[in-house]
């Protein structure tokens, strides 16, 4: 029963998905657009790679080289995806909770939210990453004396530090969304007899998300690229694997350095593109007929 209610509430978060027959038609159109957009993004990337290969066939550089670094970059790409898969959901969860906390009546929760934002937005992510890495390493070494465990945990603590940084930005995005819902909506919900909790989940949040989603997409795109900061504590991510190739490339042929960076750029682009299109998909699902500006 509890589980079913949870499921029910999840469904209304994307209220149009089950609203009516017209809703379903919109869903299909939205899904089709999503697939087309992702294909377009992959197409742009493929064109990029095509350009690289073309330059190779014109003998601007050794074509075999572009191919030879790809498996390594692919490994790094997977690491970056893993980091993104942790940092985005965790950052969003933090942003959601603290954003909500900042709009409650409780002075303590509001203060906590404000403190969180000021600290984690005000400090450079690179400092946060280093700090959490060092503190974790020292703490674990003190307890277990096992440097391998310490290294692993500390690496992930760096990722969490980045989530905290991104979460601080998302807190403000969520807060802005909640504040954008007119008080009349809450009064109406009250006068129907909804509890405070129901009002939050049924009335305030669905409308707040509609406003918050575009800037959230912005923040996701931004934090994907910020994961490259994590290589300073030893993550062998896409950027780092590329960087490691540079000295050898410089020795062989200066043009090869460009090839490395172009391939890195293309792979980051794919990731950012897909994630922002997912956000766009959810955004469309939250669209309210009559409230949107004319669609171009």
């Amino acid at each position: 029963m509890v589980q079913r209610r949870w499921l029910e509430s999840l469904k209304t978060w994307v209220p149009r998905w089950r609203s009516s027959v017209t809703g379903r038609a919109d869903f299909q159109r939205n899904a089709t657009r999503f697939v087309l957009r992702v294909l377009a993004g992959l197409g742009i990337t493929a064109l990029g790679f095509g350009l690289v290969i073309w330059l190779g066939t014109l003998r601007y550089y050794n074509l075999g080289y572009a191919e030879s670094i790809l498996p390594g970059l692919g490994q790094g790409f997977l690491v970056t995806i893993r980091l993104v898969a942790v940092v985005i959901p965790l950052g969003f969860a933090l942003g959601f909770l603290f954003g909500w906390a900042r709009t409650t009546r409780s002075l303590i929760l509001r203060g906590l939210g404000a403190a969180y934002v000021e600290v984690f937005r005000g400090l450079p992510p690179i400092v946060l990453i280093f700090f959490s890495y060092l503190i974790t390493t020292l703490a674990i070494l003190n307890i277990s004396k096992n440097p391998f465990i310490a290294g692993d945990v500390a690496l992930w603590m760096g990722a969490i530090a980045l989530s905290l940084h991104s979460g601080a930005y998302q807190t403000e995005i969520i807060r802005a969304g909640i504040l954008s819902v007119p008080t009349g909506q809450i009064e109406a919900a009250d006068s129907v007899g909804l509890s405070r909790w129901q009002t939050m989940f049924r009335v305030t949040l669905p409308q707040a998300f509609r406003v918050s989603l575009p800037p959230l997409g912005n923040e996701f795109a931004s934090v994907i690229k910020d994961t490259s900061l994590l290589n300073i504590i030893g993550w062998l991510d896409l950027a780092q694997i590329g960087l490691l190739q540079v000295p050898a490339a410089l020795k062989a042929d200066f043009n090869l350095v460009f090839i490395i960076w172009i391939e890195i750029a293309l792979l980051y682009f794919v990731l950012t593109f897909v994630v922002t299109k997912v956000v766009r998909f959810v955004e469309n699902a939250y669209k309210v007929p009559g409230l949107e500006a004319a669609e171009l």
Partner: protein, 243 residues
């Protein structure tokens, strides 16, 4: 029988003393219209009645149950009282049907099918059955206000509060909302209506209150208030409004 009984109601916002001791009875099935200059506390009085605002002092009884008390859940009180707002306040992200269904499913605990047919019935009552899948932004002001009335009616309230329900409407839409309210009055709904529609008040009200500076200046039948008001202040206000 007394449906709403208010005794010695006081409310201040900071240094602003908005309600200054209001005593009021509304009988079951009666329509009470509240008129008075803006800023006189009419809206605050309505909002206190369904506890959107808690009074500082005084008692509110609905059917002899004291509702502004710690033992009574405000959600329960508001369920007994329907409210219609000047700005409609429909949930913008839900269709007309779902606006009406929300309280049925979440507050009354009805299952979706029963709530749907009840909501469709209420929309039919306000003449908007064919607009059930429209979103508020796709409806005219008059239609939105009628959906808002249906949303309040669906909860089977004992009392309906109307806070200037036609003040935000274009003139062409006013009558359709007033017609729905008139029908409701004929069906025997207990209603408290803050309004500037003197025609409606004259025709429908059982009694009228002239409210000024947080107090009831005068209460009487429409004839008494409009034709032979007892107080200078009432006379001046009515004279200005009716011209």
């Amino acid at each position: 029988m007394t449906m709403v009984r208010i005794r010695g109601l006081h409310k201040s916002f900071g240094s602003l003393h908005v309600l200054r001791g209001v005593d009021l009875d509304v009988n079951r099935g009666d329509v009470l219209c509240i008129i008075g200059p803006s800023g006189s506390g009419k809206s605050t009085l309505l909002r206190c009645t369904n506890l959107l605002i808690y009074p500082d002092q005084g008692d509110i009884f609905i059917e002899d149950v004291k509702v502004n008390s710690r033992e009574v859940r405000p959600e329960w009180v508001r369920q007994q009282i329907g409210m219609v707002f000047q700005q409609f306040n429909l949930f913008t992200h839900l269709t007309a049907l779902r606006n009406v269904m929300l309280g049925l499913v979440r507050v009354k605990g009805m299952d979706a099918a029963a709530a749907r047919s009840k909501a469709e019935f209420e929309l039919e009552r306000v003449g908007l059955a064919e607009k059930k899948d429209a979103y508020p932004a796709q409806l005219s002001g008059g239609q939105q206000q009628r959906v808002a009335i249906a949303r309040a009616l669906a909860m089977d309230p004992k009392v309906m509060l109307f806070d200037e329900p036609t003040s935000a409407l274009d003139p062409e839409y006013i009558h359709e909302v007033l017609d729905v309210m008139k029908r409701l009055a004929e069906e025997g709904m207990t209603m408290m209506v803050v309004t500037h529609e003197m025609g409606f008040a004259k025709e429908v009200a059982d009694s009228i209150i002239f409210f000024n500076q947080g107090q009831i200046v005068e209460r009487g039948s429409p004839e008494e208030i409009f034709d032979r008001p007892g107080h200078e202040r009432t006379k001046a206000f009515v004279g200005k409004i009716l011209r």
